[in-house]
Amino acid sequence: MASSTTGEKKILTLKGGDNEEFILEESLVLQSELLKNMVKEERVSSIPLPSIKSKTLVKIIEYLKKHAELTPSNKEEFKNFEKEFVNVVLEELLDITVAVNYLKINGLLEFCCQAVADRIKDKSVEAVRKIFRIESDFTPEEESEFRKETPEAFEGDLDDTTN
């Protein structure tokens, strides 16, 4: 019963979009539903992920490692790590979100979506447009009509900062 499995840890290679290779323990990628199915059903040892930039992949692997080490005693530390994890420029955050959505890492996807949502919360329309580079396709008349219909959505101290 005391047999050790440490010597037989399975190794897997992930290949990022720019052909950079990442070698990691197979157990780590099982957090991704997509990779788990590939590993279990096709018994592959190398998985190309051409749509994911290496930079993004590095971040995601960093998360998988931290998440695998999560125990009740370092919960606080993990929370801080998560906070820092999404504290990146929007473009990078969206790259991560798209990749995590593709890889189906459910807990992290929800966390990323919350982080993107937090960049919309309590912001003025003008600020959100600037931050996400959204161009309005409403006429000014339509827009003012809309503001009149739901005045409560435009009341209060809305944040105008765009960082």
Binding site: E91, V116, K121, D122, I134
Partner: protein, 272 residues
């Protein structure tokens, strides 16, 4: 390029459902794409409390009058529905979508409440309930209302309010004490000493500009949009709903002068 165009549709819906209802309504104005995304049933279903169907089943309200979840959401924000045969009313907080309840006067514990010399029970044109409690005269004023923390939205800061009106010439009601306690582990007597003073009258017009909104340890009453007045009795956090019932209590039992002219509509528990 619009950053959102890089995201798959499922992701966009997930993101928007992590904002608040008021953010979502505001985001409709961003562009036509957002407006149509924000009509999604998925988003509004998320903004509704997870147990909204069970709650509605306790009422006579028929949700089929609303064709979309969004419509249902705003219907529940704008007009409260009565539960359990009128013992309780339920509505949603427009900004957060969190649950608000008002305990009907008949469900409150009012000392001398069953004595017609002190309290009268009658219908009121502005009331959502079938009867209100009208105080003619009493020395010991003591009103309690209870709700299970399990029924509330989890992990939310709540406040309890006494909702009422004053007749033209109320007396003895200049101030009272209010307390909110967790019934299971905070005793009546311990909390009595921590009570806050509340003023059942609104701040006189003449003093409103003088920065006198809050006096020491207490609050003045304010007018509500539904024609009633309210005064905050205290705050608490619903946590995970495991703290058992929470009780809000209004008392003036130390100064035993006569009090009269209070019409009680209920005790409301809503997000802070």
């Amino acid at each position: 390029m619009n950053y959102f165009e890089r995201l798959p549709e499922g992701c966009i819906l997930e993101i928007l459902s992590h904002t608040t209802p008021v953010d979502a309504v505001r985001s409709c104005i961003l562009s036509r794409g957002f407006k149509s995304a924000l009509e999604s049933e998925i988003i509004w279903e998320r903004f509704l409390p997870s147990d909204y169907q069970e709650i509605i089943e306790r009422s006579e309200f028929s949700p089929s009058v609303c064709t979309t979840k969004k419509e249902l959401y705003f219907r529940l924000c704008e007009s409260p529905i009565l539960l359990d045969g009128g013992k309780l009313s339920f509505s949603l907080d427009k900004h957060s979508g969190k649950k608000c309840f008002m305990v009907a006067p008949r469900e409150l514990i009012i000392s001398w409440g069953d004595n017609l010399n002190h309290w009268q029970w009658k219908p009121h044109p502005d009331s959502r309930f079938s009867e209100v409690a009208s105080l003619s005269s009493v020395r010991r004023l003591d009103i309690r209302g209870k709700i299970g923390t399990k029924m509330l939205s989890p992990k939310t800061d709540y406040s309890a309010y006494l909702v009422y009106k004053l007749v033209d010439n109320p007396y003895g009601l200049e101030s009272a004490n209010a307390i909110v306690r967790f019934v299971d582990y905070e005793s009546d007597t311990d909390t009595e000493n921590q009570a806050n003073t509340v003023k059942l009258e609104t701040l006189p017009e003449s003093r409103r500009n003088g920065g006198y909104l809050q006096f020491k340890n207490g609050k003045f009453a304010s007018m509500r949009a539904d024609g009633w007045m309210e005064v905050k009795m205290g705050d608490f956090n619903s946590k995970k709903g495991g703290d058992g019932p929470v009780e809000a209590r209004l008392i003036e039992i130390k100064r035993l002068h006569l009090k009269g002219g209070l019409i009680v509509e209920g005790i409301e528990f809503r997000p802070k």
